[in-house]
């Protein structure tokens, strides 16, 4: 009887509960685990599933678990190439061993099911290049224009596991930007042979960078140059001209004199590189100037050429040594009183502009000056009731910093007598 009563009560209790919610709920949500790595939490770094680092670089390893990390689990851990790496959801660590590693996040859920996500991490050091010792040595002269030239260099893979490739480039120096490199190639050995010959009495440059299999580039770059000999023991001098202050140069002239100061060559050309040959061995001096910018000057360059030598003067800098000049349009320093005074302001170098020009009338700055071409207009206000001369000082400096000051006297509009009579 008691049992029957208990059974009826149990039925009543079950009927009162919302059992459908539990007994007929939809399929349980499946758990999804994801793993990521990122160099930093900084927003510029993206989370990835594959990455390449150098030994010692730290990475942050992250997990994402759906629906949440509060899902019951038996255990979770990370492995690195099958060995336990960490027992945390998120952590920061590094890997030192070079190679490509498999990093796995393993999650064993409450029911013992194992879920995992795999990351790929490559640890590698960039290749190293010997930038001191290579063939041909930097600055080699007398390269035969018609023979094969062999290049060789020393490289090292610090990890000793990667194959190296090299980006080899060969240029003719003094060629403008439109010139293509003579060689621009990837080679899998640390040598290169150029078979197409060279222009006599010219300078060439070559560059090498190393890359390992995973695309890491060497920090260093080999840079070498060599000079090609001419015929009959001829020599040459070459160089590059630049000004200390940028100006729009349309041409420059070069005068080459021998030891007896006889003009050997006189050249005017548009390019800012020069290559003067074929010359006999001996002592020379060189003058370089800009026809439209006489303020740019260089000291006389003296040099001696040996037989078969191509001498590179590298960069010859023309310095703006001339100061700007200021003169009144009348050519006089004492000026008649006018509302606007006009002056000629000229510079044979880097040039002047209004922002670098000031005028003071009796020590007071003059505003609203204008500069049109080389004419400076200075508006001055000469009081009617003044019989004294005013001093106008105009100062200007060019882009190279060469300064010039000039003082002028501005006559009064009235004389002393006129002032007192009035």
């Amino acid at each position: 009887m008691k049992f029957l009563a208990f059974f009826i009560m149990l039925l009543a209790f079950v009927a009162c509960t919302d059992s459908d919610k539990y007994l007929h709920s939809s399929e349980p949500e499946s758990i999804i685990v994801s793993a990521y790595m990122t160099p930093s939490f900084d927003s510029i770094y993206e989370r990835g599933r594959a990455d390449t680092i150098t030994p010692g670089d730290s990475l942050i390893f992250l997990t994402s678990i759906y629906p949440s990390k509060s899902v019951w689990s038996q255990k979770y851990y990370w492995t690195l190439d099958g060995n336990i790496f960490a027992n945390e959801y998120n952590f920061k660590s590094t890997v030192y061993t070079p190679g490509t590693h498999e990093i796995v996040f393993v999650f064993v859920d409450y029911f013992g099911d194992t879920l995992s996500d795999t990351l790929s991490l490559t640890v590698a050091s960039p290749p190293a290049l010997d930038v001191q010792n290579f063939i041909p040595a930097d600055g080699m002269q007398q390269v035969d224009p018609y023979q094969i030239l062999h290049f060789a260099w020393n490289a090292d893979d610090p990890d000793s596991i990667w194959n190296l490739n090299y980006h080899f480039m060969l240029y003719e120096n003094g060629c403008d930007d439109s010139c293509k490199p003579l060689a621009d190639t990837i080679v899998d050995r640390s040598t290169f042979s150029y078979v197409n010959g060279f222009k006599p009495l010219h300078e060439y440059s070559w560059y090498v960078r190393a890359y390992n299999e995973i695309g890491q580039e060497s920090i260093e770059e080999i840079a070498g140059r060599f000079f090609v000999r001419g015929f009959n023991n001829e020599s040459a001098v070459l160089g590059f001209v630049k000004t200390n202050t940028p100006v729009d140069v349309d041409s420059f002239y070069i005068t080459l004199l021998d030891s007896g100061l006889n003009v050997v060559k006189k050249i005017e050309q548009r390019e800012n590189t020069f290559n003067i040959g074929a010359l006999a061995k001996g002592s020379y001096c060189l003058h370089i100037g800009l026809p439209h910018f006489p303020d740019f000057k260089t000291d006389t360059i003296r040099f001696t050429l040996l037989e078969n030598q191509v001498l590179s003067l590298d960069t010859v800098v023309l310095n703006d040594r001339g100061v700007p000049r200021i003169a009144s349009i009348t050519g006089r320093d004492t000026l008649a009183p006018e509302d606007t005074l006009k002056f000629l302001v000229t510079d044979g170098g880097s040039g002047i502009d209004l922002s670098r020009t000031i005028a003071r009338l009796d020590g007071i700055s003059v505003n609203q000056m204008t500069l049109s071409n080389d004419t400076l207009s200075v508006p001055v206000s000469i009081p009617e009731a003044s019989w004294t001369k005013k001093i106008l000082v105009i100062s200007t400096h060019d882009l190279s910093g060469n300064e010039f000051h000039k003082s002028f006297y501005v006559l009064p509009k009235t004389t002393l007598v006129e002032v007192f009579v009035d």
Partner: protein, 245 residues
Amino acid sequence: MNIVIFNVVSLRSKINRLVLDICLAFMAGVVFEACLDVPNFPDLSGKIQTIEVSVKQGNETYNDPLKINASEDAQLLVDVPSGVDRSQLRCYWFNAGEALDSGLTYDVFTEYMLSSIFRENFIPDKVVLVDREGNSLEKDLQVIVNAPPVLSDSTKPADGDTLWATPTTPIRFSWYAVDRDETVALKNILLVDSQAYNVGTLQSVQQSGFSSGLHTFQVVVIDSYGDSDTLPQRTFTVLDTMEAQ
């Protein structure tokens, strides 16, 4: 009637005692058995499971691959693990099914490597190891007989040469190396004043940067099996053209 009842009880008591005695005897037997000297599991450490063969040449040992430098005598060795009684082993070396020799070592003389005929007939392709009980193990061998590269004595500059040069004048270094087995994979290393330049397959390069005075150079050529030839160090003297002028 009382006497009968007593006898039944007495019988039960005897049976119980008998069972107790049997149990005690069994336990004593178990204890006794436990005290016996149980023999160890058979020791298999003295048995050879696999054959390992290596090449010994000079101070070098090679086993993967089995490579012999054809210019030097060598020995093929069966590597016997420590703990194995070598005197109980018999070893036979075979070539094309014919026994060449017996013993744990096989001497490979340079004469065997001079020609392909000798190589095909005197270099073992199988080794068989037999123990005292008559158990045998065999292993197929692939012995590589590698002819090392050979550098010619003729070089530029020649030993003792005097050259006129400025520090920017190129000096051509050239040499010649041959290898009976291969021609393309030779790796050349030029050492100039002890500075090594890995010049790959090149056997002629120009280098500058030599000051006036005595200089040295040397060449090492290495084939793909690591066998090499080294040219004795050569010297050359540079006289500076500019100083002379």
